[in-house]
Amino acid sequence: MTGGWVLVDDLDARPGSPLDAAGQMAADLAMLDTVAAGGPPSLRIYQWSPPALSLGRFQPDDDVDHAACAARGVEVVRRPTGGRALLHGGDVTYAAAFPQPPGDTGRVDAIYEWLAGGLIAGLALLGVEAAVARNEGPAGPVCFAGQQGADLRVGERKLCGSAQVRRGGAVLQHGSVLLARLPFDELDLVHARPGDLPIDEARARLRAATVTLEELGAPVQPRRVAEALVEGCSRALDLQFTSRVVSSGT
């Protein structure tokens, strides 16, 4: 699984590019389908512009306050992967597609742990000491409000959330590393549910449960963060990148 990887560098895709939120998910799925069809594994790095709220594959659509999203210029897109709502725009996102390893190394949690090794090594290059999060079980409608073994934390606070989809013998895992906070968060974009905390209290808890590279005093330049993540995966996972491309914007 370590040889012949393609690095898809989409970091500089900007407004007006074909890669709107739906395009980003289509590009990730295209990587998965390529691997399922026998193509090479790939690692893609990108950002979202304009901001987007991505929903988990089976998350109810009525979790989303579409009017609030529209008012803030936030696109709404459904991920092919599991998990809950995640606001993109202040993050760097990675997506890795590769054949599902055999036996125990192909377990969902084993793959999270394997890729975490690369991400943790990359974050260490930025002076950040991250660790795999504890599994708190299923969360509410907002991804970053809870931690699972798929995620990375610094201290007790979540810095990176990831999710997977498996299809045709291939795995796609993508995840989001928080660089800095936007002027709004997921709680402004999802509907409150009966019994939820008052929004100010919920927001205080969300902020306390999460941390950004900016708040850690680490570099936040997307290019530098992306290069660190790629280098971390290359070193810790022994990924050999044999080509570097830019997505054509599927």
């Binding site: 988990g56 594959r57 089976f58 092919p80 599991g82 969902v108 498996r166 299809r167």
Partner: protein, 126 residues
């Protein structure tokens, strides 16, 4: 790994219990262990026609979505609605309360092409 001898198995990690012309289907103990805690099962639709080895349902576990394949062709005649409230049954009792759907088989001979417990064990243990 629990592999009941009376069941047949697919290479995509489903089990089949033949009940006359019907096949009760779920995912294997190996598969549920690979997935981890199941939090949601997207069931097929009753009345839908399914093709052997084609995707017909999905399962979510630990933020991971995986396909469930039909081991045999036919018409879905029953689904396990109880998984809506208790998807963890797929982990806790994969061959019992964790069953997922029942197919009325179009060609019962397709069962013969599935694996027995020993062959499936050999497949997953490499």
């Amino acid at each position: 790994m629990n592999l009941p001898e009376e069941l047949r198995y697919s290479a995509e990690h489903e089990w089949v219990a033949v009940e006359g012309v019907r096949a009760r289907i779920g995912i294997t103990d190996f598969a549920q262990d690979q997935l981890g805690d199941v939090v949601y099962v997207e069931l097929p639709t009753v009345g839908a026609n399914v093709l052997a080895h084609a995707s017909c349902a999905e399962v979510e576990s630990t933020k991971s979505v995986s396909e469930i394949f039909a081991p045999v062709s036919g018409t879905v005649v029953e689904v396990n609605d109880a998984l809506g409230d208790a998807p963890e049954q797929v982990n806790g009792d994969p061959y019992g309360a964790g069953w997922i759907f029942v197919v009325e088989m179009a060609d019962a001979a397709e069962v013969d092409a599935l694996l027995d417990a020993a062959a499936y064990r050999a497949l997953v243990e490499g």
